[in-house]
């Protein structure tokens, strides 16, 4: 039996954390505007949306799946919510509608994958297009904007000097961590990603749990839609395009294997923060947006290369 030191259990996450700290240290040296409290509140607020979507993505990827539809589901939840608010539906009910729309689309993904036996890539690719199309149909392509201050608290308000989106992100990570480590659903998520057939044979209701995992991903896209819509004071039908790639990147940088069966929620948070810090730092330094894309892409590649190299060493 191997010794279970802290390093062996959390080595990959610690590696990513060191990456984040190293990156921050460099930016601290390069610009006086980086290591300030207001800038960190700024970064965490900017990271919240991607980080929340990435939680759902982490569940899905641990179960050896993928969810390409998160951005479109976000747009759909956003316009459903915005439409309800504009129709003078009470705030709590409008939020419920938006989240329910996200959860429903996610569950549809899950059903197509678990019952329809479609590969996750195909099912969610289809949903990406269907949901986007529905959004364009119901909005006629036009954004829905201008909401009451009661809704804008999801962007503007603070609690204990920390912006609400950051609190929501923290809460989502805490709950997701508990679900993944302490519940049946969490255990089955890893089991399905590790060996789906064995999981089925051991009597786990795989179809139900898989549907729930995609449902969670859809629900969290809906939650991200609340934050985005409040932030821009507008629900845009074209919102969330390419968000799936940011979420996948955060998950993968955070050490979750695309092959499934392993990954930790804390890693994803660090992954999302690395992306947020990089974008922020490159803006502060005035680096051109072309270079920014290249740097972010390179970081993703390096993170995964590193992951693979470390795995090889462990074996």
């Amino acid at each position: 039996m191997r010794m279970h030191s802290l390093w062996q259990q959390h080595g990959r996450q610690l590696g990513t954390l060191i990456g984040l700290l190293g990156l921050s240290a460099v930016l601290w040296i390069l610009t006086p505007h980086f290591m300030t409290i207001s800038n960190w509140l700024n970064i965490t607020q900017q990271t919240a949306i991607n980080a929340i979507i990435a939680v759902g993505m982490t569940f899905v990827i641990i179960s050896a799946g993928i969810d390409l539809s998160v951005g479109s589901i976000l747009a759909l939840s956003g316009v459903v919510m915005a439409g309800a608010l504009k129709a003078d539906v009470p705030l709590s009910l409008a939020l419920l509608f938006g989240l329910a729309a996200g959860f429903f689309c996610g569950c549809m993904n899950g059903v197509l994958i678990s019952r329809g036996k479609l590969p996750p890539f195909i099912a969610t690719l289809g949903m990406m297009s269907v949901a986007r199309g529905v959004v364009l149909i119901i909005t006629d392509g036009r954004p829905i904007s201008g909401f009451a201050p009661s809704f804008r608290v999801f962007a503007n308000a603070e609690f204990l000097a920390i912006p609400i989106p950051v609190w929501i992100m923290a809460l989502v990570y805490l709950i997701a961590h508990l679900v993944l480590t302490r519940t049946k659903l969490g255990r089955y998520t890893y089991a399905m990603g590790g060996n789906e057939e064995a999981t089925v044979l051991s009597g786990v209701h795989v179809r139900f749990h898989k549907t729930m995992i995609y449902g969670i991903s859809g629900l969290l896209s809906g939650l991200a839609a609340v934050l985005l819509t409040a932030r821009l004071n507008s629900a845009q039908p074209i919102a969330g395009m390419m968000y799936e790639l940011d979420a996948i990147a955060a998950t993968v940088i955070g050490g979750t294997s695309l092959l499934g069966g392993e990954g930790r929620i804390a890693g994803t948070l660090i992954g999302a923060l690395i992306m947020g810090v990089l974008r922020n730092g490159l803006n502060l330094l005035g680096v051109s947006s072309f270079v920014q894309q290249t740097v972010i892409g390179a970081v993703i590649i390096v993170a995964v290369l590193l992951d693979m190299a470390m795995k090889k060493r462990r074996i």
Partner: protein, 306 residues
């Protein structure tokens, strides 16, 4: 070991990115935040701004989201520039309402915002209590009218017209469209047989116009709310072997469009002067920084290129 390599890689990547040396406190830093850098229009604006900044000894930071309509990324950029404590921010808004929360943040930080090219929704701006220093841009409504009059004249007052619209709800495209309708709707002999969006993009302009060509055998002219879509339409016309039969009028007079007008593939385009916009934006940002007042609307002239 490997982790050290990872950190070192990021470190070296960042150091190599830092092109500007340390800035002296006396040089004002002005930011120009654009919709995209994938469009020649904005590149010309950037060049105009850069030339003015160099001439007037200001430091210019140019940033843009990766995709033109990514309003959230544009907001992130503005938030980051506020942290950077730039002296003024010139911005071409990705969304005429969606930009307002970012403007409010700049207001709170005491950084003046100069809006360039695309107007901010003035009602929403007033409702939110946000302030902009000025709007620098062309009158897109007048440009649309100019295009409308030009097409009516070319067709001798009779014919079928198609329109390629910009992003729905986007101020720039909408006012061009309104201006165009203002002229064309009152021309009795002209009928608009198709009006669809191609989201300001060239490839979509191609495919959408291909579909329009397929369904409209008798089509005499097309007005595209920007040149990218017009150029897409030109390619679709060539692919359908209907070159020379359809009047194509675009908007912006970008280099490719001027080229196409010269060789006859395109008929005309409305020229805004992005270079002037960039230049005027920087000059006025500097006026503001020095504490001088500037007009709240600074028009930039438009020309018909044919």
């Amino acid at each position: 070991m490997k982790r050290t390599v990872f950190v070192l890689l990021i470190v070296s990547a960042l150091f190599s990115c830092q092109r500007q040396g340390s800035e002296s406190a006396s040089v004002p830093v002005i930011a120009l935040v654009m919709k995209t850098l994938n469009n020649p229009f904005f590149i010309e604006m950037q060049e105009g701004a850069q030339a003015a900044a160099t001439a007037l000894q200001a430091k210019l930071l140019v940033q843009a989201p990766e995709r033109e309509l990514d309003v959230e990324k544009q907001m992130q950029i503005i938030e980051n520039l506020i942290q950077r404590k730039v002296a003024a921010i010139c911005v071409t808004p990705s969304g005429s309402k969606e930009i307002i929360p970012a403007i409010i943040k700049a207001n709170q930080a005491g950084i003046p915002i100069l809006v360039v090219d695309t107007r901010v929704d003035s009602a929403a701006l007033a409702e939110a209590g946000a302030q902009i220093a000025t709007f620098i841009g062309s009158d897109n409504f007048d440009g649309g009218r100019m295009a409308g009059r030009m097409i009516i004249e070319k067709l001798g007052g009779k014919g079928n017209i198609a329109i390629l619209e910009g992003v729905p709800g986007h101020e720039t495209g909408d006012s061009r469209l309104r201006g165009f309708h203002h002229e064309v709707d009152k021309a009795a002999g002209i009928s608009i047989v198709a009006s669809q969006t191609a989201n300001f993009e060239r490839d979509q302009g191609y495919s959408v116009f291909q579909n329009i060509l397929e369904s409209q055998q008798k089509l005499d002219a097309v007005f595209a709310c920007n040149d990218m879509m017009a150029l897409g339409a030109v390619e679709a016309i060539a692919a359908a072997n209907r070159g020379g039969q359809i009047v194509v009028v675009g908007f912006d007079a970008i280099t490719d469009a001027r080229e196409a007008i010269k060789n006859g593939a395109m008929t005309a385009s409305i020229a805004q002067n992005p270079r002037d916009m960039g230049k005027i934006a920087i000059e006025n940002a500097l006026h503001l920084i020095k504490g001088e007042s500037i007009p709240e609307y600074i028009p930039v002239k438009i020309d018909l290129i044919q």
